[in-house]
């Protein structure tokens, strides 16, 4: 009898340990997601990015840490004075890895489109022809995978705006898309609570559109 109690107790401990990893993961992720919001310098961005990579190494079955590490690469390429192509390529590498964990994921597909858009922005005159359809196709796919993904819609609006500027036409179409993105973002807010670690960014993009689309 005692033997069974021991087994039961041990298995309890094991379950306890296994379960414990999830709150720990969520806690670690939450901490870094909060830190992301305060990034001012390249060094800070690198610190947070490294933290996500550590979480990813310890939790190789999770796609989110790689998602955020990639997002940080893309954002630093836009914000800081670094080798942009290299940063976007690195971001795409993380996405590739994450796609193996979570294939057909709307957020990852949208992020991939974001990285492609970044590469396009380095040399639009020469890369536009190839990368514009690639980025549009990725945003389209991201929307098809999850019609309520505000980031996919806002990024597509961003592409539409870029094309409208390039061809000298008005931003009406882009603004229409952006409005849908903003609405989705509002809708998403209802879901967010303290332990929510899925992507929620997009507010800044939406507010930029508000200025353009007045």
């Amino acid at each position: 009898m005692k033997k069974y109690i021991l087994i039961f107790a041990l298995s309890f401990i094991c379950i306890h340990v296994a379960n414990a990893s999830d709150p720990a993961f969520e806690k670690a992720m939450s901490k870094q997601i909060q830190a992301m919001a305060t990034i001012q310098t390249l060094e800070e961005s690198q610190k947070v990015s490294n933290s996500f990579l550590r979480i990813s190494e310890a939790q190789p079955e999770e796609w989110l840490p790689l998602y955020y590490a990639s997002l940080l690469q893309i954002e630093s390429a836009f914000r800081f004075d670094i080798n942009k192509d290299q940063a976007f390529d690195q971001a795409l590498e993380y996405i590739e890895k994450a796609k193996k964990i979570a294939p057909e994921n709307s957020e990852l597909t949208a992020l991939e489109g974001y990285a492609v858009m970044g590469k396009l922005s380095v040399d639009p005159a020469n890369r536009g022809q190839n990368l514009t359809p690639e980025a549009m196709q990725l945003f389209g796919k991201a929307i098809a995978l999850d019609r309520e993904n505000p980031r996919a819609v806002l990024l597509m609006a961003q592409m539409e705006l870029g094309m409208a500027q390039f061809f000298g036409s008005g931003p009406e179409k882009a603004c229409g898309v952006a409005r849908m993105g903003s609405d989705l973002l509002q809708k998403e807010k209802g879901k967010i609570n303290e332990s929510y670690i899925l992507p929620t960014w997009g507010e800044r993009m939406a507010s930029q559109f508000e200025k353009v689309c007045q």
Binding site: E43, E57, D85
Partner: protein
Amino acid sequence: MKRQHYLTALFFLFHLGAFSQTILSGKVLDEKNQPLPGVNIYIKGSYDGATSDVDGSFEFETEEEGSQTIIYQLMGFKTQEFAIDCDSSPISLQNVSLREMITDMNAVTISAGAMQASDASKAVVLKPLDIVTTPSAMGDIIGAFQTLPGTSTVGNDGRLFVRGGDASEVGIYIDGLRVGNAYGSTAGNFPTRTRFNPNLFKGTFFSTGGYSAEYGQALSSALALNSKDISPRSQGDLSLLSLGGGYSHTLSSDKQSITLTGNFFDLGPYQNLVKQNIDWERGPHSWDLEMASQKKLADGSLLKVMARTESGGMKLWQKQPGKEGRGVFIDLDNRYTFAQTNWKKAYENGWTLFSGISYSNNKDDIFYDSVNLQKNSKLIHAKFTGIKDFSDRISANSGIEYIQNDYSEGIVEANLERDYTDHQFYGFTEWDFYLSKKLVFRTGLRGGNSSLNQETWVDPRASFAYQVSENGQISLAGGTFSQVPTENFRALTPELKNVKSKHLILNYLYGANGRTLRAEAFYKSYDNLVTFDGSPMAPEKPINEGKGFAKGIDLFYRESRLIKNTDFWVTYSFVDSKRQFDQYSTKVQPAFAPRHNFSVVAKHGFQKLQSQLGMSFSMNDGYAYTDPNQSGEMNSKTRSFQNLSLSWSYLPKPNLIIHFAVSNVLGRENVFGYQYAQTPNASGVYESLPSGQAAPRFLLLGVFLTLSKDKTANNLNNL
């Protein structure tokens, strides 16, 4: 009871662990012992870790216990791992230095002789889009390369001539596989074009000498075209030109795509409208069908298939010097087929395997003054290569190849036919050694055997590149190059030996901030060149007795940020070439090697007009020719060649382009040489006719429309 103790102990141990913390600290340096910031240092399998500071130092706490692995990781550097023992007492780690990995992005590349048309961010000579937007090119791949250093424009030929070499010395490859008869067949001084549409390719590698051991059967130059990967979307492309039109349809999914294209061209109506210097009976006309397909296989490898078939022809009268009338009647019919397939896979263990096969078949049916000449050339090229990256410092590219060449030519009425079949085997190996990211050595060997002339040969090649400053590098390349003689000579004398050449090239390349400067000096020797008795139209008794050389310098400067919305490049090439070849009994300056060659191409975008204006200007100091009224060979030179071309591209919508181009806007009467009568006239003078342009100007108007079912828009409507 004992078990209860055990449980309690276990319980304590478990919780004790949670409170025991080890403090780790240390410092990370680079190879030069400078502090390395940004390194991710962590305990394997845990969240615990830190990022090194500006001074390379770090400190963090871990709750892990006992034997652990600490990892030092930074993008672009070789990851290092150490075993540590965490026992709650602070650990001060020894300084660790990380070694930078050598990657395509940060390493020096061999630039001697090489020019790449790619999207890469490094010093780029040509971008893929330049091929379609260079005005003088008129959408021809070769036309764009004629504005690059080391080439010369021969306006009545149209093919690519590199550094004193004739057009047959340029090897053209698609995905590393040889293309036979890459240029369309032509007659009577009407310039030819490449058969392949620039839209098929994602990048181009063009070398004017000293190239890799991977490329054989190319004495002067290698032009490697890399076909596109899987298309991102399904679409239809309609093109309407003043000379014809075509439609291309692409079907695409995640894993595969297929493009079917059909084109039809007829210069006849245009030539009726615009006065021509050539006496056309029937203007050049052609149709072509093409299929290109790409598929990503389940194992991650990429399979490509391309096939093309076309038919074309022209009829014209070629006036003869010293004779009355319209001259000789020429009727040309051409049939051409090209097909290739290749497979490529990159393995995790550093191997990349490639295998492919190509087939080219060209048939020319020519009536020359009612004599019917028929030519048929077939080429099969099979290739298998393996690239192995032994480390980030050593990699090797080796392969085996087989070429079968069948050729026949004959005059139907005379029942005269010559033909041959040649089996060629090749093997090559080439090794890259990176001594640092600033210094690379490449050494290669290429061996071949031809069954027809029963010759076996080995060509050693070597090159190196050294980065001298942040954005500047020097590169040196040299080696020997072999090529079997051209088909018409081999059909006459199958035993003809290989034509040989040696190259030596010194290159300086600077590239930064949208600016590229390239300077190159070269020396090239020729041996075993084919000489013959008789005329080029009817060569007799060809032998390998010719010799020659070419030496000179090239300068290239490209600037894309100096003037807003303007991108321009300037090229100057000086070639001093003399060779004894063809019918010449002495060393002469070839007609296709003008000494001074200059070109400038500029493109300016007008954002408000949604347009791009293109301008290209080329000139040289004239072509050498033999005037039989004077003594000696190649004793004269034509007037300077000059061509100013303009183009206007208008993009009113993302899917619509309207393109208008005019070559030789100023209408300069360019002459590429003179054709002389075989015999002198009554007053003892050989009469002549200039070999000039087909027309003073050439105008092209094109409308290009892309039709795609905008899936993204459809999706948005459903939101």
